[in-house]
């Protein structure tokens, strides 16, 4: 299994995502300026503050050359995982439904949260049980998920009761596209791959396709 981890100017968690992916397969960084996924089997759009979060989160990064390639890759069924800022970029790019709005607190919040897996039928969650709880850190200012209309089983992850600190609609923490090959979530599974740093639950997601 070969992961490509996209690096935008202002990405923060790309090295962490790279290291996490290397626990379950090969991985390399993909430069935002190259419209080339270098043969990756799965692409991770990492967290951070691409283009400083300026103008609107994910708004500028989504136009970078690499995203054109990601778009084609996804439309051909390629596996894509967007984490935090990566989730925001995928929503801006129209690869995922909905949008992410400022936390109701209007504050950046970094907290270990519990999320519940509600859809295990997609490649990224096939290693999980329905209702399984994962302990994963979340850290963002703009994580309040909103989407018009009902998403049905495109909702993949929900914050466990009491863990939805950003005000997301229906406690939604992660959603997929209709085909199920593209997943976006606000919590950071790449920061839950080592018991020394708090949890290994993130491997259940990142390791699933491998």
């Amino acid at each position: 299994m070969r992961f490509g981890v996209v690096q935008f100017p202002g990405s923060c968690d790309e090295r962490d995502a790279l290291a996490a992916a290397r626990r379950v397969g090969d991985a390399e960084l993909l430069w935002h300026g190259d419209a080339d996924l270098r043969g990756a089997d799965a692409v991770i759009i990492p967290g951070g503050f691409s283009y400083g979060d300026y103008l609107r989160v994910g708004a500028i990064a989504r136009f970078s050359p690499v995203m054109g390639a990601v778009d084609r890759f996804a439309s051909e069924g390629g596996l894509v995982l967007g984490i935090c800022n990566g989730f925001q970029v995928l929503c801006e790019a129209g690869l995922l439904p909905g949008a992410l709005l400022p936390n109701t607190s209007l504050r950046f919040t970094c907290r270990q949260v519990e999320v519940e897996v509600v859809n295990t039928s997609i490649p990224w969650t096939r290693g999980c049980e329905v209702g399984q709880r994962l302990s994963i850190p979340a850290k963002h200012t703009t994580g309040r998920y909103w989407s018009p209309g009902d998403l049905g089983d495109q909702v993949v992850l929900r914050y466990a009761p009491g863990h939805n600190f950003n005000g997301s609609m229906n406690d939604i923490a992660g959603v997929c596209n209709e085909a199920g090959n593209v997943l976006g979530l606000m919590p950071h599974p790449e920061h839950a791959v080592d018991i020394l740093t708090g949890s290994v639950d993130g491997l259940a997601l990142i390791g699933a396709p491998a």
Partner: protein, 77 residues
């Protein structure tokens, strides 16, 4: 950088009605504490101002970049 025929364009971007606007609410809550009464319907949005050679580009620029039509309305002046 600024060409002779450039036009200054102002784009106002607002949160769509019906979507929670915590920034507006925060301002609305803070004002009375400062002694400002009788304020309502506060909304906070973005202001983008730019010089463009070709103003006909601007609507598309708004649709694709400056605003997110799913959650925001925009107005060009």
């Amino acid at each position: 950088m600024v060409g002779p025929c450039d036009v200054r364009v102002r784009v106002l971007i607002r949160p769509k009605a019906g979507i929670l606007d915590p920034q507006g609410q925060a301002v609305e809550r803070a004002l009375p504490a400062l002694g400002f009464e009788g304020v309502a319907n506060v909304h906070v949005g973005r202001l983008v101002e730019l010089d463009v050679e070709d103003p006909t580009q601007v609507p598309e620029m708004c649709e694709r970049l400056l605003a997110n039509p799913l959650i925001e309305d925009f107005e060009i002046e």
